[in-house]
Symmetry: D2
Subunit: 372 residues, 4 copies
């Protein structure tokens, strides 16, 4: 079940870098939702390579087609197939590397796991696999926005040693994020990041970074203790994105250094409802949303494929010097922004749907309603 | 399905702090495994409160009973119920707090989610819920050890601002870890940690910390791309532990600051097989184990329940000052060590079992075998 | 995941015939439901052996205990463990049969599957395994009755060559069914069945039978195409009951002999809503309930364990004559009635909960509501 | 999760009668399997309408394309998308029936469930939905044949009142079945069936029938007690096929009339292994295969869409007379044969894969091996 995610809003993705196409089947989408390719394409455009001089030069049109599940621009409640044709099918661009597993890439482990692997482009481990995630996430996001007014905004908060500052998670917008090639809404840091990535691209090297994300207007009650806690499913979702190495929610690793008397978020009455004065919890307590903004951060390693020569061994164990050919991204975090948002949308929608019956089928009290 | 975890080795836990008992049903355990309570009890003893002056003074015997699934000390392949009776059933010790949700505790969110909650002790959100996890994890661990020689060792690497140093993940042992009340195998840091926690207990405050974990001898090929990547399931598992705020694998957040030419792990031949010269990948590439040690870190926040007075509001929105009565842990990380190990064992065993058929049913090559 | 069933209202059963206990964990039960042992025990009493002279003489008290998941007689929304202690633990009553697999029993296949098996009483394949199902079903049934007014009534419609007649599925009640030892509400057939079973018991033989079931007041819309169609999940549930050999819904196998012009159920307006004039569909069309009564039938084979001598071979392949010792049921269908009802309740509740979000999260129309 | 099936070999289907395409994603297929469209197309050709004068006159080419998951004619172990384009997209052929739910069709229940439905052709409830099932089943079947030598053969055993006879389930072949338009391998019955269906087509009526199926060479040990018993999953799978009303395995409903002393299958030694002298069990005991041929029967109702006028009501409750236009199948069972075989293959492969780790990870005995 490795390529499926979700319980009620369930996605199943498919596709390698150089087969005929990539995409996703969505099962469980509510019926009647207005949905056309125009709702999905913009997020794919934010994800695709070739958007700016900072990313790989490959030009991938990545036009999504809704193959099933809608009629007259509305969902039927049946499975939705979203498909994107691959332009470059079997180009052999990576031919020289067939016998040399790229250091820190999935070439070696796919070969170990399956006894075979796609001969070029990373196959299933390619970033093209995230197209299905982003497409399904765009649908989830639309549902969350229309039914609950939920807003999801991610941005680049670090690239290499450079950190953004001054970003207000309560108000930052997608427009502010997209104003910069690096998707860092702090203009000062953004410019430094741009220069750094540009230099590294020139040098044939790569660099890591951090994506931050906020989800606003999630009602209280979303998240399923024990093992499907909201933060647990977010953590799974984020670590399922290629190249991720860490996840933290609310105070995160820094919170581990604090005392409880400092870290605790006291309850207050705000706008006629109970909220918290601070938000070290990141909007989640005991695995369940508390109505405050949910915020978390995701660490991405530097891309493994670089042009600089590396001393390594081939599959037969012979020492070789590898200098990757082809076109590679020196830094994935700007393109990772819509992927992080998509996974967040998928997690929250699925858990919100699971919460639904708990409200309607409850005995004896006035419950908080998540659905419209 | 919130209280279930795993696909082939699947656990379902139950129990609140003050009901009749807590525990777990394990479904899918291989047959013929020698298994008695003595295989499980030691890990429960490591988890339970009252082990040392540093933890809560509550004395909980927590004796596990194997109710089903074994005969003559061997597993039958049928579901195994592991049960621990609760000694303190409905003590009302927390009575004063019924109308006041503890800041940063799950009182508020459980009430929002379910429209009700256990009147005392945290109910399902209590740390007693982890007994089922630890019991099942002990079984998983035994299987991994006997079939694959896998060793899992976790330890406390930070408490508050204090960091351990000099710990060698390739060789650190459970015996070294348990030599100290704090479960930090660096004696110098351990003593400082002990003093810090002792002071905070006295002061009615609490403190967070970090648990590190290494898993040695995992064969290559374990982990299911895309959404059930090994690091993704570990992240879910760790963030499902109460009070966790972050997870990082391999180079983690620090890796996000590096360049690819520095971060990449070159392949080398070692002991007759292909390994990596460094291990920034943390033993995982593309969601699949590569045969190197898997290492990760988990951040725990300071416990929410403290005796120091806190300004907050009750469920009706009235301002109150809350000073928790009862017995509370000033720092959970020493007791969290066996929980982290248990969750790691559950993740790895379940993914290793999922890999099994991929090897036997493969066409045309010599595959790496995970099972015995 | 073999011992789990359901997606949102999910049960996990455990227990063999001679371990310490049997039962079930229910995950996903709505919160606030009034629930005590008295809601569950009556169905266990209907299931247990020794109820009448027609069943096995074993006396099993089978007292259920709610171990977790409730407080003050109401559900918390957390997992509910329902447990029944085994009185006869390891009696060795079946000792002589250890090396001889009983013909048409699960002894042989369990040994093949697991490489081991319980040494007595059938272990997991024993009818005691159904205690968990019946206990969980009693909870599901209460929820369906209280929230939707759903009634589930099963009865014995055939034993061996004897068929009941004159039973009106729209009005038959549990009281009418339980008036007879055989649970056949046709008094004339019931008496003949009683005599037949009594004779076969005397003769050391056994006999099969058919259980019919009706579910009234299921709202339209329950059932999940494609693979979780209402009839598909009912079929799975019924064939999961020990000793079952067939399932048919509505017109069933007889319907396969008809023409469409005769078989089709025309729509009519009745009581202000659209219903059907006939009900060959058995209340289900395209996998989804249509608001009419759901009715189906389940075939049970004669119990495999009989006292009459049988020519067979032992595990080593040596010819032997087997005459089972111990106490055996000559006919399971009277006791199967509450099991069929329980499985029906579990299927319908789980699918009704899955339907819930589809109603609340729908765009643009007036939908039929399943929940209260 | 309604459109997904399976645990390790997991399929997710998509597509309505008049959207852009229909098909399936297969997740979990073993790697290295030689696989091209030629392995799949023949079963789609057996399923499609227009094969003979007995089925609907619609001509559907139904050419399958492997979009992902293979390279150079072998599977990669990654998700496989099998897609078939719809030729007739939005033809409006069924326009007159938009406001009139067809009696015994899914029009009414889809509208109740989703609050909307496809305007023509049945949408998701159309028989075109089974294309995905058949395509995935062809892959499962090839794996079972190559790895275990398993043969799956289904045939038409009844149409309306006409029953086939003299068919030997141990030896009947696909070639014998396909020799007749009706897929009934008894030539005498086949001719009578052909005439009956032809007459009913002329008359604008339809008729039901029964499909029988045998699965040969399944090793002992396949099937997961309790709820995923082999017969339980087969029952779910068969009742998930459109228009099915019943399932029976082995002796089935007839077995319910017998005594145990007659029904029991004594063990014998045959070909050096333990088998059974008779096979009333249908190759399954206690939910687990015993090594004998598995045989079962599936009842299909007459198709709901007929040209004969029917008195019914429209969605507003107004009495109307409906005479369906368009092209309809008078009898689905000949085309259902490959669908039954496909679902059988999917069930058995998935359960065989689940059994795999139980063998390799077993302690202390010589186990029966299912995999190659």
């Amino acid at each position: 079940m490795s390529s499926s995610f979700g319980t009620l809003f369930r996605i199943s993705t498919f596709g390698e870098s150089h087969c005929k196409g990539v995409g996703v089947v969505i099962d469980g989408c509510p019926a009647g939702l207005p949905l056309t390719e125009r709702d999905i394409q913009p997020q794919l455009d934010r994800r695709r390579p070739g958007q700016s001089s900072l990313t790989t030069d490959r030009s991938e049109a990545d036009q999504v087609v809704i193959v099933s599940g809608t009629e007259n621009g509305r969902t039927l409640g049946t499975p939705i197939l979203l498909e994107v044709a691959n332009r470059d099918q079997r180009p052999g661009d990576y031919g020289a590397m067939v016998n040399i597993p790229r250091p820190s890439h999935a070439d070696f482990t796919y070969q170990m796991k399956y006894g075979t692997r796609a001969s070029s482009g990373g196959g299933r481990s390619s970033a093209r696999e995230t197209i299905g995630t982003v497409a399904a996430g765009a649908v989830a996001r639309k549902i969350l926005r229309e039914k609950l007014g939920i807003e999801i905004v991610a941005w680049v908060s670090s690239i290499g040693p450079l950190d953004a500052s001054g970003i207000d998670p309560e108000h930052v917008t997608e427009q502010q994020v997209d104003r910069h090639q690096t998707r860092c809404p702090d203009p000062f840091a953004a410019e430094a990041m741009r220069a750094l990535v540009s230099d590294l691209k020139e040098a044939g090297d790569s660099v890591g970074g951090i994506v931050s994300c906020v989800v606003r207007n999630v009602p209280p009650g979303v998240g399923e203790p024990t093992y499907d806690k909201l933060e647990a499913k977010l953590a799974q979702a984020m670590l399922a994105i290629p190249a991720t190495k860490g996840f933290e929610v609310g105070s995160g690793f820094a919170g581990a250094r604090l005392r409880g008397s400092v870290h605790n978020d006291p309850f207050v009455v705000r706008n006629g409802r109970i909220g918290t004065a601070t938000n070290n919890s990141g909007g989640i307590q005991g695995g369940i949303s508390n109505g405050e903004p949910i915020h978390f951060r995701v660490a991405f390693k530097p891309p493994a494929t670089i042009s600089l020569p590396q001393h390594t061994v081939d599959f037969a164990g012979n020492p070789v010097i590898l200098a990757a050919e082809g076109r590679h991204d020196p830094c994935v975090v700007p393109r990772a922004v819509p992927i992080v948002e998509a996974m967040a949308a998928l997690v929250i929608l699925d858990l919100a749907l699971q919460q639904e019956y708990r409200l309607t089928w409850r005995w004896g009290d006035g419950a908080v309603k998540t659905g419209g």
